[in-house]
Amino acid sequence: MAAVSFSNVTKEYTSDGIRAVDELNLEIDDGEFLVLVGPSGCGKSTALRMIAGLEEVTDGELAIGDRIVNEVPPGDRDIAMVFQNYALYPHMTVRDNIAFALQVAKLPKPEIRERTQKAAAMLGLTEYLDRLPKALSGGQRQRVAMGRAIVRSPQVFLMDEPLSNLDAKLRVQMRSEIIQIQKRLGTTMVYVTHDQIEAMTMGHRVAVMRKGILQQVAPPQRLYHEPANLFVAAFIGSPSMNLLTCFVGGTASHPVVEVAGHRIGIDARALDRYPRLADSMGEQVIVGIRPEHFAMAGDIDVPEDQHITVHVELAEAMGSEVHIHTPFAVPPVSVEGAPVNAEDEDQIDTSVTHVIARVEGVHVVENDSDARLAVKSHLFHFFDPASGQPLR
């Protein structure tokens, strides 16, 4: 087991000069489960492949443990990787697939057999050992890929979107299995995904990347509650954070944001978290409101100026909660690479921002009606519209 360390690691493709990874500095601790997340093309897979040795490092230093591995071939790095498409050898049985690395390493036969059996037992593959991959289901293939990684007891596990080819139910199951395996083995794991939920639930820490640049590394909860910038705020969370360009009025001690005819008083506690909001009096800021920062009026006890009445365009009853979709007549804040709260991107109206509010499921909300919502403005996030930096 070993730590992985990126220092100023850059990957530049000579063909087009694009930097897939730009001066990445990241320390992954020994035994840590780190999730790399970001929109497609953000460089997360490239970073992973650099650890694996499948991509050359253009600049900077990459270390596994105490060893700088820039020039070390993949086979000598003592790492194991699970690919998105599993990359099982189609012509080998499950047993041979799992044992391949050990056979290459010329381990004694009894040891190979024993370790293969053990890994297979751990993943519940014992009865499939003599099958070919094509005779397995998607979940079983996934397990074989896991088994191939586990059997080597490597320094680092690398996972490249390993669950994206599974159906939703299996994905949930495998997710917890991977977490448990990592916990049991205590091996450092780097896990690439574009899936929010995997990112939030699996890792000790999550690293968010965008266009080759690391945006934030933090434990999932902190990532969610203290996004380092507008991109992280917009990217993390599902449904994603509502972003509204608002005018800041009121007084420095008790500001009020105005947007599309609504006035929302900002709780003083928000100023503790975003003190620089006080400097933006009379200016436009981007206010980030998580869907759960709304509640039906009466459900929570907030001052009168923290209520708004909105038109319900669509109410989605999810059982435990209701998602209220309501249009705000302001241009949407666009954050490149972040998911958009809309069913069909072609129909995005550039003059309307669709706000999603998540309220208690006990309420019956009719489509095309009005609803009075209370807002927890002490939880709001505030960003500089120009730089996207938080007003902290």
Partner: protein, 393 residues
Amino acid sequence: MARVGAYAGLVLVAVVVVFPFVVALATSTKNNDDIFRYPPTLVPSEPQTVESDSLTNIDDAGNDVPVYRLTGIDGQYALVDNDVSVAEFRPIDDLERVIRRPLDDAAETGDTVTIDGEEEDVYEVSVDDVTLVVYRSRVTSGGLFVNLDDPTDERIELINLAEPLTRFGPRLENFPEVIQDKQLGRAVSNTVLVTIAVVLGQIITSVLGGYAFARIEFKGRSGLFLLYLGSVMVPFVVLIIPLFQLMLQAGWLDNLAALIIPWVFTAYGTFLMRQFFIGIPKELEEAALIDGASRSRILWKVMVPLARPAIATLATFGFLYAWNSFFWPLVIINSGNPDGRVLSLALATLGGRSSTDVNLVFAGAIIAMTPPILVFLFAQRYFVENSASSGLK
């Protein structure tokens, strides 16, 4: 309805295509007399015989005797003696009628009669218990026929007037005969040797070259590949003389090496393997790299097993070329020394030298034709099989 038409058309085409093969196969198993029989038949036949034992009144037991049908008489007759003296008698009052009897089967009366100005002896012959007065018009050689159903029914007839009966009888001796008597054995073993060497050589060079072109980055790769691929466009006739001179310099004239070495490098095969390797997901190789496998191990343990369909295709083409090639062997194996000949050459010589033994020529052709057909039938299933992606997703 359109379907029926289509099938009818296909069947027609199939029959037209297959017919020459059937003729060749039939001819190769006929005996030489059978080939020139009129009307020609597709089924090899041989004279029908019975064991003479079954005919009670024959002494020389143990021989098979041929069976005939006699003109105007029902039943089958065995020819038990093909060299009996036959006398032809004609009744004096009916000179058109001919009665054939063994020479001593007529009693001389001592009288004479004058026919056409010749004085002839007069005999008495009994036909169906009626005694006729006849003269002997001719003494010739004929056969003694016995009715198969009624051994007492014996007849003397002229053999050339009887119709021999035939039955299905392939003459498989043609094959060993052509191999031994016409020295085809050496040609067969040469061809097998050349073919195996060419096929194996082509597979090895194509796999190595195709893999390099598909997966190893090196300077000038695409240019080199284009050049290599371009060589497919150069017609063989252009290469004959330079290639011949090369072989001359190498001292390989009249040598099987000249049939092997130039043909183990194939641009087409390299192209085929490259295309197939490109289609194999890169992740498989990357997984093997991470598992610590070397390039050569990846190639032989991961890529090659997956490329079996492509290799089978390549091997089939290589086989068909090497087995059937005629022109290049004709040019390079030119001393007339039969030890260097391959099948195609040997067949050509056989056709020229032994054209009287048509059955043997065809037997040789069948020997030459069978392995390619078998190989094609066997390899055919690989053309459709593609297992490369089944382990993924």
